[in-house]
């Protein structure tokens, strides 16, 4: 047991980077303001989300109260929390249990599989509180205050909240352990990353649509309809623990406690089953299939001849390297490319759902289409389209993590006799071609769905390409100014890299400023062609300093960074 806690502590420390944080505060006091700023930003973002959620839940509570079923808000909360934990838990557990880099270090230690598994499970559990708490706490408070509950309610609530992740996570773990025993997915890590990413994307899209729907109609009405349809009960019945949780909290006296005990008992039972199963299977599936595939193709002399004969310029060689490394790392593809292509799709889809929701205040899709193509809305439509194009270009993670992605291989870039400027131009071209792609996709969408004329397409396309250049350069500049070169998992380079967020932020601010200016000159009735001309000029003027700044920063970073 002692060993277990040591392991747990180490894991906890690694997981939340406690040592690194301590080090940061002690040794790099310069970075404290930056860290604080980030924390405040995150709190603010989360705060507003939780506020929105609480408001929604309050509506549900009131609607339930009208129908004499105030507990419905609790059922919804527990169902959604457990469901979300279950779905994401599967991928999360796969990652932590089977793909962690620490496994090769842990297996030789004198520990039983269940100890390793248990400590990893505990870590996942603690992380899942980050999901469970914001989903559960507001409804519990709303219900508790709303129905005037006493002391025991809050005690039961505390226990339930702490225990909630256990059932979905043990189910997910058992599923994963059995799955890995029979289908060896360790070799298919790349595939899994992509599948996991898309499941996440689909879920968040679905959620988005749902919220969209709720907001567009009369919310209270639709909540009432939702409750009357018994949908929640149905979902709840297929996952009884959420009903037990509701009854434990809503029930008075003995029955409440009985359901609480039932909930806890099932949690423990599942946990024991999971550990038992893990003890048997875990190491076996970890140890099999640690290989990466090899073709072992012997080079025929003709083949060889062709392969070594193709020489290109250093810049081209770097562009090719960048593309290969990007395309062969699933997490980069998912975050760097899909966003750019899916972005325009989402916008178009949102437009259509918005249009067809068909409440009294909104237009039908057809009405909207004719509206957009009316002469007096010509410029507004074109500029909005341009805004979408530039927005997607500004979200370019390929640019804002370009140098970071080199990580520990950065020494090669420092060693080769290629000027930093040339290397950075290669990176800029790669990122710009991604932006080009997204502009192209958006423009095609505009032509197909919004029936834009050729002239408008040409305007959006050319201004989009022009504007993407400074945006891409600025995103790249951020990464050049503060590259994150020390990481072990590519996730850290692209997803856990602040530069991506900063790049988006700066792009948005810039676009807002330009947008404000453009709105102003449109308002004072400037002729359309002059508006486009001025916009082109501004974008061009923006390009020059961003490129110069980028080249300067590159010279400096490549020279100063020591590896």
């Amino acid at each position: 047991m002692n060993l277990f806690f040591t392991l747990f502590r180490t894991n906890l420390n690694l997981n939340f980077g406690i040592s690194a944080l301590k080090y940061r505060f002690r040794k790099e006091s310069k970075k404290i303001p930056e860290t604080l700023l980030i924390v405040i930003g995150i709190l603010f973002g989360f705060g507003s989300l939780i506020g929105l959620y609480s408001f929604l839940m309050y509506q549900v509570f009131s609607a339930g109260l009208n129908l004499g079923q105030p507990e419905i808000v609790l059922t919804i909360a527990f169902v959604s929390a457990q469901f979300i934990i279950l779905i994401f838990g599967i991928f999360y557990i796969l990652g932590v249990f089977y793909f962690g880099r620490d496994l090769s270090m842990l297996i030789p230690l004198p520990l039983s599989p269940y100890q390793v598994l248990g400590s990893k499970f505990a870590i996942v559990m603690i992380n899942e509180y980050l999901t469970a708490l914001p989903l559960l706490v507001p409804p519990i408070i709303i219900y508790g205050m709303g129905t005037g509950q006493g002391f025991f309610y809050w005690v039961k609530a505390l226990i339930l909240v702490l225990a909630t992740p256990a059932i979905p996570l043990t189910i997910a773990s058992i599923f994963v352990i059995v799955l890995m025993r029979f289908a060896n997915l360790r070799k298919r890590k790349d595939l899994l990353t992509i599948v996991g990413g898309f499941v996440g994307l689909l879920l968040s899209l679905g959620l988005n649509f749902w919220i969209q729907k709720l907001q567009s109609g009369n919310m209270v009405n639709s909540i009432q309809r939702l409750i009357e349809s018994d949908l929640i009960k149905m979902i709840g019945q297929s996952f009884p623990p959420s009903i037990w949780a509701t009854l434990a909290l809503g029930g008075q006296g003995f029955s409440g406690f009985a359901y609480l005990l039932l909930f806890l008992f099932v949690s423990l039972l599942l946990l024991a089953a999971m550990l038992r199963l893990g003890n048997q299977f875990f190491y076996k599936s970890v140890l099999s299939g640690q290989e990466s595939t090899r073709k072992r193709k012997v080079l025929s002399s003709k083949n060889e001849h062709r392969r070594f004969n193709s020489s290109t310029s250093p810049m081209m060689a770097i562009i090719i390297r960048e593309w290969r490394l990007l395309l062969r790392t699933p997490i980069y593809v998912l975050n760097g490319l899909s966003g750019v292509i899916i972005g325009p799709f989402i916008l178009v889809l949102l437009f259509f759902t918005q249009g067809s929701a068909g409440g009294s205040g909104s237009y039908t899709t057809e009405q909207l289409l004719t509206l957009i193509n009316r002469p007096e809305f010509m410029i507004t439509g074109t500029l909005s389209a341009l805004c979408i194009v530039l927005f997607t270009a500004g979200m370019n993670l390929v640019a804002s993590t370009s140098l970071s992605r080199e990580g520990q291989t950065f020494w090669i870039s420092k060693m080769i006799p290629v000027k930093p400027k040339v290397q950075i131009v290669a990176k800029l071209l790669q990122a710009y071609s991604v932006a080009f792609l997204s502009v192209l996709v958006t423009v095609i969408m505009l032509a197909l769905f919004f029936k834009f004329s050729l002239l408008r397409i040409a305007i959006v396309f050319s201004l989009g390409l022009l504007g993407s250049l400074p945006l891409t350069a600025l995103n790249l500049l951020i990464d050049v100014l503060r590259p994150k070169l020390i990481w072990t998992n590519p996730h850290e380079a692209i997803k856990q890299n602040l530069n991506g967020l900063l790049g988006m932020l700066i792009s948005i601010i810039l676009l807002l400023l330009i947008g404000a200016g453009v709105i102003f000159i449109v308002m004072i009735k400037t002729p359309d062609s002059l508006v486009y001309g001025l916009l082109a000029l501004v974008l061009l003027l923006l390009t020059v300093p961003s490129l110069l700044g980028l080249f300067n920063a590159a010279e400096r970073t490549y020279r100063r960074t020591e590896v």
Binding site: S310, S311, M316, R324, G407
Partner: protein
């Protein structure tokens, strides 16, 4: 030819003096062995020579090019093998070698011949079209050596190049180093294998705590200390 003058470098804001006023001259056509206990400053010196670290003080010139003011020219004449190479896991061996050949502007004819020779010599031909991810430690090391020497650089700078190589590959690499020097080029390498240093090197330098404490041919070193084996000389000199 390598010329190091008054080179100093400290880590952690001056707390750890890794290299302390080092002066060193390596002729063309010479194999120079760089010895010293762990943490003596070998890797630090080498990284400054190839431009991965910036010296606090002093200057380095490689084949007449100053590494600070003429860094690109200096880099073009260097072939560098690091002690613990991280290379692009998701490229194949061939793609990596072609990348290196491209950035060093090696002509197609030259690269074809050299790549084939090296792959044959290191028995890597079979694995060349696999992802580097699937390579063993030694295979990776051999690939890095190949990539570093693909442009036939005049100055080789190798940080413990024999680590991880099997006896045959290590032997071939030593022969190759010898041959390279006979053509008037320079080889500078660090090692902990005294036997290799003793047999292979024209001259040897021993560094301890950032300071060069001995330099010369084996004969000169023997004379200076009075003992015969390099091991004894090394132990004697680096003693507290």
């Amino acid at each position: 030819m390598i010329e190091i003058k008054n080179l100093s470098k400290a880590y952690n804001k001056g707390q750890v003096k890794a290299v302390d006023n080092l002066n060193l001259h390596v002729q063309s056509g010479e194999i120079f062995g760089f010895l010293g206990p762990n943490g003596a400053g070998k890797t630090t010196t080498i990284k400054m020579m190839v431009g991965l670290l910036n010296p606090d003080e002093g200057s380095i010139s490689i084949n007449g090019y100053d590494t600070k003011t003429q860094s690109i020219q200096a880099k073009s004449t260097i072939g560098y093998v690091p002690d613990n190479p991280d290379i692009y896991d998701r490229l194949t061996g061939i793609e990596y070698l072609n990348f290196m050949a491209d950035v060093y502007r090696v002509s197609p004819e030259d690269r074809q011949k050299r790549i084939n020779d090296f792959l044959e010599m290191f028995e890597l031909s079979d694995a060349a079209s696999d992802l580097i991810k699937s390579y063993s430690h030694g295979m990776k090391q051999k690939l890095v050596v190949t990539g570093a020497l693909i442009h036939n650089p005049a100055v080789w700078i190798l940080d413990e190049p024999m680590v991880g190589l099997d006896p045959k590959s290590a032997h071939l690499l030593k022969e190759y180093m010898r041959k390279h020097c006979e053509q008037g080029n320079t080889v500078f390498f660090s090692t902990h294998i005294l036997e290799v240093a003793e047999k292979l090197c024209d001259r040897i330098g021993i560094i301890n705590k950032g300071k060069l404490i001995a330099i010369g041919t084996m004969a000169e070193l023997r004379q200076g200390s009075g003992t015969s084996s390099l091991e004894n000389i090394f132990l004697e000199l680096t003693e507290e």
